[in-house]
């Protein structure tokens, strides 16, 4: 692939920037475009790229918790099978009372992702069908995927711990203590602690 082939991507970005206000976009690399939009634009942008630019395949939707900035970032990942280009549509949502317009009429499978995000992050999708819980059953705490949810505190409060497990938080260390074996450098280098 040569650099020239990025023309196609750049054309799309330019087209989108020209079409929508407040839309910023850039070519991330070969075959990958990223655009940032406002949250009220979500349905119109998605509809537009689906109908006019050939991004007919909805791959994935995810949510990123920017705790420090006070935002949720919703990411819609689309794919154009004709042009072989991946499009990331990003929108920022306030963390407080996060709510977004429902978009599952564009791709029906979006419903599944939206329900998951509603449950895991507490983002409300206005007008979405399906009130029932999706994966978490009978959950009454803070949505567990939010970064301010303290998992360790929660499990210590709710679940039992096997006695003797406390000192074995680091298994490798425990084993080396018991057997006097030396821990290889590689292991410590990539250790979680």
């Amino acid at each position: 692939m040569t650099e020239n082939s990025l023309d196609k991507e750049q054309q799309i970005v330019n087209h989108l920037v020209g079409t929508f206000q407040n839309l910023t976009g850039k070519v991330k690399r070969n075959r990958r475009i990223e655009v940032s939009i406002e949250k009220k634009q979500i349905t119109s942008v998605l509809n537009y790229v689906k109908d006019h630019l050939g991004f007919i395949h909805f791959s994935h939707m995810s949510c990123v918790d920017w705790l420090e900035d006070g935002y949720f970032e919703l990411v819609y990942i689309l794919w154009s099978p004709e042009q072989k280009i991946q499009l990331l549509v990003k929108a920022l949502v306030d963390r407080e009372n996060a709510s977004v317009e429902n978009a599952d009429m564009i791709w029906r499978q979006l419903n599944t992702y939206q329900r998951e995000i509603r449950e895991m992050f507490g983002v409300n999708f206005i007008g979405m069908k399906g009130d029932k819980e999706f994966i978490l059953e009978d959950w009454d705490n803070m949505p567990p995927m939010r970064r301010d949810f303290n998992t360790v505190d929660y499990i210590q409060e709710v679940y039992f711990e096997r006695p003797g497990r406390e000192d074995a938080q680091n298994v490798r260390e425990t084993i080396s203590k018991r057997t006097g074996e030396e821990i290889p450098e590689v292991a410590t280098k990539y250790s979680r602690d």
Partner: protein, 181 residues
């Protein structure tokens, strides 16, 4: 089956011998451990040699084999399946996840100690336990049965309140039928 610890009646010995050699398993394939069950049952390791046989419904089964981690959602179903089984019944906890949470020790939605919720007769250690380990676990259970020590169901009946309290702690919407046999 009322079981005096010191002496088994002759009838119990015969019954236990039959029970020992005929274990109908309800494999509750909750986690990744379920993949170890097919090799255990089929040609390579052939658990049927020991009279171990898969069954489709809890009514017919003797052994509840919990293979792997249990989310609280699944735990509810496991408890239900366990309570639908008929005495005498045994539970085998399979893999580290059932023992101490295993690699899911810090998951917000996975229980860590199976024996706080249902009585476990035998634990099989490992992640994953190999089919040999599974068969060893079953043989261990058979030994317990022959000695009349696999009395998890009796414990459950006696300490039902304690078990219920633990279960209700994680299962918030409690809508299970009563258990009184």
């Amino acid at each position: 089956m009322p079981n005096d610890k010191n002496s088994q009646k002759i009838v119990d010995i015969i019954k236990n011998a039959a029970r020992k050699h005929s274990l109908f398993v309800l494999a509750y394939g909750t986690g990744c451990g379920a993949i170890e069950i097919p090799p255990t049952m089929t040609s390579r390791y052939d658990a049927e040699r020991f009279g171990i046989r898969g069954m489709a419904t809890p009514r017919q089964a003797d052994v509840l084999l919990v293979t792997g981690y249990l989310a609280t959602k699944t735990l509810k179903r496991v408890i239900r399946a366990y309570e639908q089984m008929q005495d005498p019944k045994y539970v085998i906890g399979f893999g580290s996840c059932t023992i101490n949470g295993g690699m899911y020790w810090d998951s917000y939605n996975t229980i860590k100690l199976l024996d706080k919720y249902i009585p476990v007769d035998v634990y099989i250690n490992g992640c994953m336990p190999r089919p040999e380990a599974v068969i060893t676990g079953f043989i261990e259970l058979q030994k317990l049965i022959a000695e009349g020590k696999a009395d998890g169901a009796t414990k459950y009946k006696e300490n039902l309140d304690w078990y219920r309290a633990n279960q209700k702690k994680v299962i918030k919407n409690w809508n299970m039928p009563d258990y009184n046999w």
